[in-house]
């Protein structure tokens, strides 16, 4: 099948050997900012902002370079050095520039650069600003490593690197115990996902003696069904951890403890989508195993429903957006699980989501900035007038996410729903319903934040954020609107060679009119209407209203994900830990101490023999001599 054969990478020429600069620049800057310490307090954030922009420039240049190549040569391997070589295994730390990775690199550096600019304003008064920017740069470097690597093991380095950056940034305000806990939780849950990831890499090394994409793509079809399914499921576990998919979703909501730019960059636009990237990258594996592919789709569907559900019942603006992020990534996973036809849609949605969700998160940050860092939407209201730029940019994001025709989300999400409908009608139907729910909760957010009456707390004076913050908002709002139209006709063909999809025909910037598309639109409108009926016409209470609605209660409790973890893992884990410590002190060490007591007792018994009389000792000695003599005699006789 031609679909399975990706591009054969060609050697790097021209600008391509400089690809490593993309990673190196932010990494070096991060290192310098951390090492030089207070010296760089004054200018560090400017340097740090320049770093991703410089990487972006390199990425654009490489992108142009790829565009200029014939389709068959659009995968370039940039050799760097041999990372690990032992026995028969060799792991090269090479970079792979292909349509998929360069698109990702552009997203990371582009959105990342804007968020850096935004952060200059957002973190202006924070004493740890230098550290913040250093971590951000570290993140950019790690994320680029993740997407640019040409094998799974180096990918894993970036994978863990972004995990580290995420940990550091979530718990950036580590003096708050909640932030510290949230960071730890994110890291640990990610580690659980990494179990799958590492074991997947073990499997690759054991099966192919290599972990490079090329070797895995080539060898996947030769694996036994058991192993290839296992490999697919293991990769899925990894993806679940990083992309906050059920059942490893619980960390993402807590991760909102981090500064808002972090939520925008890491927990909306880039890092959390790494799981989708991983699945798409492993398309050759999933092509061999329908079970694992189905599992991906199911996980995606469950998550997109769960995320939307949570989004409907939260009052914390960032948590609503976080639920929404889960949900949107669920869409991507669903697409990735559907198979070759939808890989491009997954990445497409990933990109558009990156734009509009980053836009909305930054908008939320701007709102919080104006509202004295209050995140409770019940204390907002009527902000459309006092924060106009924020409002309009946010509105663009809103229209994009609910799937308003001609806005970016419309193209990408509808494509996924359609594809799902064709392949797995049940999942497609669920995705369709979720589209309505999305419209509902986003409209709710808009009402509670921008449109309804003012419910401001005392002493809060909303104001528009400085230019350094709203310029990125505007710059992100533009692609939120137009990205769909621009890329719709292009992305499928561009990615096809890298992800093994087929080049779609007959797509243009005009939306295709289909039954499913119309139904989706109807559902979305219904969602908006319901939200209008519920929130637009009645006043919104300032405190959390009592409800007996089971759905709302469950949503407010994150669908009891934490409770589940606590009951199933934490409690028994703690008990086990205590048990082990008690075992160690009592039994293992106790045996040692018991041995010591036994020796003491034995000594006490023997001490009676040691009565202190010299002559007694003499007698003992003589008896000893006799025994030895007898032994010798007997020995000789025998």
């Amino acid at each position: 099948m031609t679909l399975l054969e990706g591009l054969t990478p060609v050697a790097a020429t021209g600008l391509f050997p400089l690809a490593w600069l993309m990673i190196a620049i932010p990494l070096v800057v991060a290192g310098l900012l951390l090492l030089l310490g207070r010296v760089t307090d004054g200018f560090g954030h400017y340097v740090a902002t320049l770093a991703p922009i410089a990487s972006f420039v390199v990425a654009v240049a490489l992108f142009a370079g790829l565009l200029g190549r014939p389709e068959a040569q659009r995968a370039v391997t940039v050799p760097m050095y041999t990372w690990i070589k032992t026995g028969s295994w060799t792991v090269e730390a090479n970079l792979l520039i292909d349509p998929l990775s360069i698109v990702f690199a552009l997203l990371v550096t582009g959105v990342g650069g804007l968020i850096h600019v935004y952060s200059i304003g957002y973190m202006a008064h924070d004493p740890g600003r230098r550290r913040f920017f250093a971590y951000l740069n570290l993140f950019i470097a790690a994320m680029l490593t993740l997407v640019l690597s040409d094998n799974y093991l180096v990918l894993f380095v970036g994978w863990e690197g972004v995990g580290l950056a995420s940990y550091l940034l979530i718990s950036f305000w580590q003096h708050k115990p909640t932030a510290a806990t949230a960071g730890k939780k994110a890291f640990v849950v990610n580690r659980v996902g990494d179990l799958g990831m590492t074991m997947a890499i073990f499997t690759m090394l054991a099966m192919f003696g290599s972990s490079s994409f090329e070797a895995v793509n080539a060898g996947a079809s030769k694996m036994s069904p058991f192993w290839v399914t296992l490999l697919g499921l293991l990769l899925l576990v990894g993806a679940c951890g990083k992309s906050a998919q059920v059942p490893l979703q619980s960390w993402l909501l807590d991760a909102m403890e981090g500064p808002t730019p972090v939520s925008a960059l890491i927990h909306a636009a880039t890092m959390v989508t790494a799981g989708v990237y991983l699945v798409v990258r492993s398309h050759a594996v999933y092509a061999e195993t329908s079970v694992a592919a189905l599992a991906v789709a199911i996980v995606g569907t469950v998550t997109l429903l769960a995320g939307a559900w949570i989004g409907t019942s939260k009052d914390d603006i960032k948590k609503v957006l976080a639920g929404s992020t889960m949900s949107q990534i669920g869409y991507m996973m669903l697409a990735a699980g559907i198979g070759p036809t939808a890989y491009a849609f997954a990445i497409f949605h990933l990109l558009t989501h990156g734009f509009f969700k980053a836009n909305m998160f930054l908008g939320a940050g701007s709102v919080m900035h104006g509202m004295a860092d209050d995140v409770n939407m019940r204390h907002y209201g009527g902000l459309a007038k006092s924060m106009q730029i924020t409002y309009w940019t946010f509105l663009m994001g809103y229209l994009a996410i609910i799937g308003t025709p001609f806005f970016s989300g419309f193209y990408s999400k509808d494509s996924i729903i359609e594809a799902a409908w064709e392949k797995q009608p049940v999942l497609g139907a669920l995705a369709l319903i979720a589209a309505g729910v999305t419209a509902f909760y986003m409209t709710r957010l808009m009402f509670m934040t921008f449109w309804s009456r003012k419910r401001w707390q005392e002493g809060v004076h909303p104001h528009e954020s400085p230019a350094v913050m709203w310029v990125p908002l505007v710059l992100l709002a533009i692609p939120s609107v137009i990205a769909g139209m621009v890329m719709n006709s292009w992305i499928g063909g561009w990615l096809a060679p890298a992800v093994g999809g087929e080049v779609p025909v007959g797509v243009s910037w005009l939306p295709r009119v289909s039954v499913i598309g119309l139904v989706t639109l109807a559902v979305v409108i219904a969602g908006v209407l319901v939200a209008y009926l519920v929130f637009g016409r009645t006043s919104i209470p300032e405190s959390v209203p009592y409800t007996r609605n089971v759905f709302t209660i469950m949503g407010r409790h994150d669908l009891y994900g934490d409770t589940f973890n606590e009951v199933v893992f934490m409690r028994p884990g703690e008990a086990l830990t205590r048990g082990i410590v008690a075992l160690d002190d009592g039994v293992v060490d106790g045996a040692v101490q018991g041995g010591a007591s036994l020796a003491l007792g034995l000594g006490g018994g023997l001490r009676r023999l040691q009565n202190g009389y010299v002559r007694s000792y003499g007698l003992t000695m003589v008896i000893g001599v006799i025994v030895v003599g007898l032994a010798l005699v007997i020995g000789r006789l025998v």
């Binding site: 951390l34 310490g37 050095y81 990372w83 690990i84 070589k85 032992t86 026995g87 028969s88 295994w89 060799t90 093991l153 894993f156 380095v157 994978w159 863990e160 690197g161 580290l164 940990y167 718990s171 580590q174 003096h175 708050k176 115990p177 932030a179 510290a180 806990t181 960071g183 730890k184 890291f187 640990v188 580690r191 659980v192 990494d194 179990l195 590492t198 074991m199 890499i201 073990f202 499997t203 090394l205 054991a206 099966m207 192919f208 003696g209 290599s210 490079s212 090329e214 070797a215 060898g219 030769k222 694996m223 192993w227 086990l576 830990t577 205590r578 082990i580 160690d584 293992v588 045996a591």
Partner: protein, 497 residues
């Protein structure tokens, strides 16, 4: 050349013994640095292909030789030792008042310990190895008994008894080995001769057991690990660094060089049991670490877990896992050094390393917290740290032979994240507690930073550019595989590039 290398710190240690105060410190540090530089020179000469081995008849009747030599693993252990000693000397400076003996005695003992350890790693004669294996206990005993917590004497005795018990079993095996070999011809304790030993499987198994038990005590494996937490808790952090970073490595070092090198058949037979034991160590150590309330004990238990990984790697019997184990041994030395020494810095200020006695340290001492985090990340094997490469190769190598075992072992990495991050969270983050503000008044001094800088640097460099070192470890690993007469499991599907 090797003899000079090994004797240099001994001479230095004896000289330092007779000096006083700061003079002793500086001279001790200088000696350690000179030894390090010299060891680098030795390494360079060795890597250029010069044969440095030395060979003198020592006790003719037993066939014992004064024989020293270097191989890949030995070279790395020597470098680890010579690097850690100056770091420790720089990081912890004992004044005359605190211990049982003067500060110069401490420095002297550390240097003497270094010398003995070097001999252990260099000896290519089993009897010579045994002598120094036991001799290292002496300075270590005094280091534990002389400085540290109130129950240190007890801890020192416990350490000594465990080690001696292990050593005794080893002695039986060493004697048995000598006799078995002498029965076949001229007596010899040289490793190169002993590999030709040809005895019945049951005898080989007995001899193997003797060696293994001694090394298991040393390494510490569950259930003979209980001396380590006590010793680490009561001794000074610097002593613990040397204990875990260098001395305990003798355990895994011995397993590779002697257990596998001399008794390949027995090693193959014992593999299932040992691998399960290693697995128990990994999980048990990690779980116990999570439950600890004292940071030093916690770090000690993490080491139990990490040594589980190493033993697993050795007995998974693949090139990758053995090579990874050796690599891991080096990096584990570095990562525990960072953890122990930073905890030591804290202990100096706070006077206690109970987890509950600290809180919010990050805000008063960010550099110290950062170093602890780096050490912790190395301990939980974050990619980019050298320990990741080691642990990964161990597990990947194990997976290629025993997937289920490796899968269970991988759980240890999740637990590692838990114990490190819980500790970090409770002590370093959150609001600053009153006691912390009162006692932790200064961040790490330049001296303290300088001491740890090379170690952290080494961890990072080895994490990103492990290949040169892996080339060295591969020599030993491949040699072991040849001795074992085992080949790596071939890739199931096709051959990668």
């Amino acid at each position: 050349m090797l003899t000079i290398l090994a004797l240099l710190p001994l001479v230095g240690g004896l000289v330092v013994w007779f000096l006083k105060g700061t003079m002793a410190r500086y001279v001790g540090l200088a000696v350690a640095l000179v030894t390090f530089v010299y060891s680098v020179v030795v390494a360079a000469v060795h890597l250029r292909g010069t044969d440095l081995s030395e060979h003198q008849v020592w006790i003719k009747a037993f066939g014992a030789y004064y024989a020293l030599g270097l191989d890949g693993m030995g070279l790395l252990m020597v470098l680890l030792t010579t690097l850690l000693v100056p770091v420790v000397l720089l990081a912890e400076q004992r004044s005359d008042e605190e211990g049982r003996w003067g500060g110069q005695v401490w420095t002297g003992l550390v240097l003497i310990l270094e010398s003995l350890s070097l001999y252990v790693f260099l000896a290519t004669d089993v009897l010579l190895f045994y002598i120094f294996f036991e001799a290292t206990l002496i300075p270590m005993y005094f280091l534990i008994a002389g400085w540290g917590g109130p129950k240190r004497a007890r801890a020192a005795v416990k350490f000594l008894l465990f080690s001696l018990a292990g050593g005794l079993v080893l002695l039986f095996s060493v004697i048995g080995l000598g006799i078995s070999f002498a029965n076949q011809g001229a007596p010899s304790y040289l490793i190169e001769d002993l590999v030709k030993l040809n005895v019945s499987p049951s005898t080989q198994m007995l001899l193997f057991l003797g060696f293994f038990v001694a090394f298991a005590v040393k390494a510490p494996m569950v259930p003979v690990h209980t001396w380590l937490p006590d010793a680490a808790e009561q001794a000074t952090p610097a002593t613990s660094t040397l204990l875990v970073g260098i001395l305990d490595k003798i355990g895994t070092f011995g397993m590779i060089r002697f257990c596998i090198g001399l008794f390949p058949e027995a090693s193959r037979l014992a593999t299932p049991v040992v691998v399960v034991l290693a697995l128990i160590s990994i999980l048990y150590g990690a779980l116990a670490a999570i439950g600890q309330r004292n940071m030093l004990r916690l770090v000690a238990f993490t080491s139990v877990s990490h040594f589980g990984f190493m033993v697993l790697g050795v007995f998974a019997l693949t090139t990758q896992s053995i090579s990874g184990t050796i690599f891991y041994m080096v990096n584990h030395g570095f990562s525990t050094a960072v953890l122990f020494l930073v905890v030591g810095y804290l202990a100096r200020r706070r006077g206690s390393v109970e987890i509950t006695s600290l809180g919010g340290v990050f805000q008063v001492a960010p550099v110290m917290a950062g170093m602890l985090l780096l050490g912790g990340l190395a301990s939980l094997s974050l990619p980019g740290m050298g320990s990741f490469v080691g642990e990964f190769l161990v597990l990947a190598g194990t997976w290629s032979r025993y997937p289920v075992i490796a899968a269970v072992g991988t759980l240890g990495t999740v637990l590692a994240a838990l114990y490190i991050l819980i500790m970090y969270q409770r002590t370093m983050t959150g609001p600053v507690t009153e006691q912390t503000r009162e006692y932790v008044t200064s961040d790490a001094t330049w001296r303290e930073r300088l001491a740890l800088a090379p170690v952290i640097l080494a961890l990072l460099v080895l994490g990103f550019f492990p290949k040169p070192v892996l080339d060295i470890t591969d020599q030993t690993a491949k040699q072991s595989m040849t001795t074992l007469n085992v080949s790596d499991p071939a890739p199931t599907v096709g051959q990668g590039r």
